[in-house]
Symmetry: C2
Subunit: 211 residues, 2 copies
């Protein structure tokens, strides 16, 4: 698993001259960082007298953030593997017309599979952004910058997943599939951007940040 | 070093109930991811016949991106350690007026030190964004989504560092220091946002992304 590599090793893998891991795995890690920062805010809110009235809600947010962190690390790994499948299809023989057709079909199949992962990453990042909004609105104000860091990380994950969906769709010929996935992507990006805008406004207000 | 932890362990540390590592370390990792993705684009551009005329420029970008990746991982670690110093100051005795004064001075000193790290992270993220702009403008178009992922990661790093500067400044009483650092932060954020806007526009155009 990529998530078993050290942080340093993972970045070296990312930086290297192979197509995977690439942006898709980066999206998973960014989203996972967002989920972890939401958990941090919850952990430093639950059990404080001043925040007793939101403790139960923060506990529910924490439970969901933990499972999203886990899911996003899995998606980080799955993205690299799904891309390996596309690369394997590209290296199939293309000598005869039959081989060419089989290779094209395998590439198309691989690309469709590889599109599912960033779509799932998108959906997970939307959920992280929704949780981050609650965390920065109701959590311990002393760690609102950590919650804000979570918003920014999850938003990077969201948009990174979106461009990964887009680049795959650009190479897929099945128009019905392309339109379905495009619509799904747009709806998720919209939902994520709305949650991000609300959460970011709260962070700015609480920090007195004029940026 | 935090960067010697596995990706999974680092996120667990981030998620945990201690104030460090927090958003400041997350900024370093996001910036480091951005630098790694810029390197990836360079690696997959250099040596390709189609991109021979930009090979030397991509090599220069690669060299800088590698050293920024290293620097940002160091800043990820230094942020957590500088925050430990602030926490140590908060736990000093405050029984007598002399102790109170010494504790306050130590906290103020710690906070000033802890502000330097995100300011350096800001500056490094601006550099990553400048390199990312070149990478997406001139690099291999097949990996423009990976370059775009680099832009998004480095931008998350930039803004995360900015809110970490802000939350520290909010607790610092030395008005001269606050105004100096605030001005530095604003200038770096402006420069980073300009590079990000230009780079993102290139990514959108090349991908046909209407987001």
């Amino acid at each position: 698993m990529l998530s078993d590599l050290s942080v340093r090793e993972f970045l070296d893998e990312l930086a290297g001259a192979s197509a995977a891991p690439g942006g898709g795995s980066a999206a998973g890690l960014a989203g996972g960082q967002g989920a972890a920062l939401v958990s941090m805010v919850c952990e430093l809110t639950i059990g404080r007298k001043k925040y007793a009235d939101v403790a139960a809600e923060m506990q529910a947010v924490l439970t969901q953030a933990r499972s999203l962190q886990q899911l996003l690390l899995e998606l980080m790994d799955r993205d690299a593997r799904s891309y390996d499948a596309v690369m394997a299809a590209y290296s199939l023989p293309k000598g005869s017309p039959e081989q060419k057709a089989a290779r094209s079909a395998a590439i198309q199949q691989g690309l469709k599979g590889a599109t599912e992962v960033p779509v799932q990453t998108l959906a997970a990042c939307v959920q992280v952004l929704e949780l981050a909004k609650v965390a920065v609105a109701k959590g311990n104000i002393n760690v609102v910058s950590d919650g804000g860091a979570g918003v920014l990380a999850a938003y990077a994950g969201l948009m990174t997943a979106a461009i990964n969906v887009r680049i795959n769709l650009n190479a897929i010929v099945d128009e019905v599939f392309v339109q379905e996935q495009e619509a799904k992507m747009r709806a998720l990006v919209s939902a994520g951007q709305a949650a991000r805008d609300q959460a970011w406004q709260i962070v700015r207000d609480k920090l007195g940040l004029a940026l």
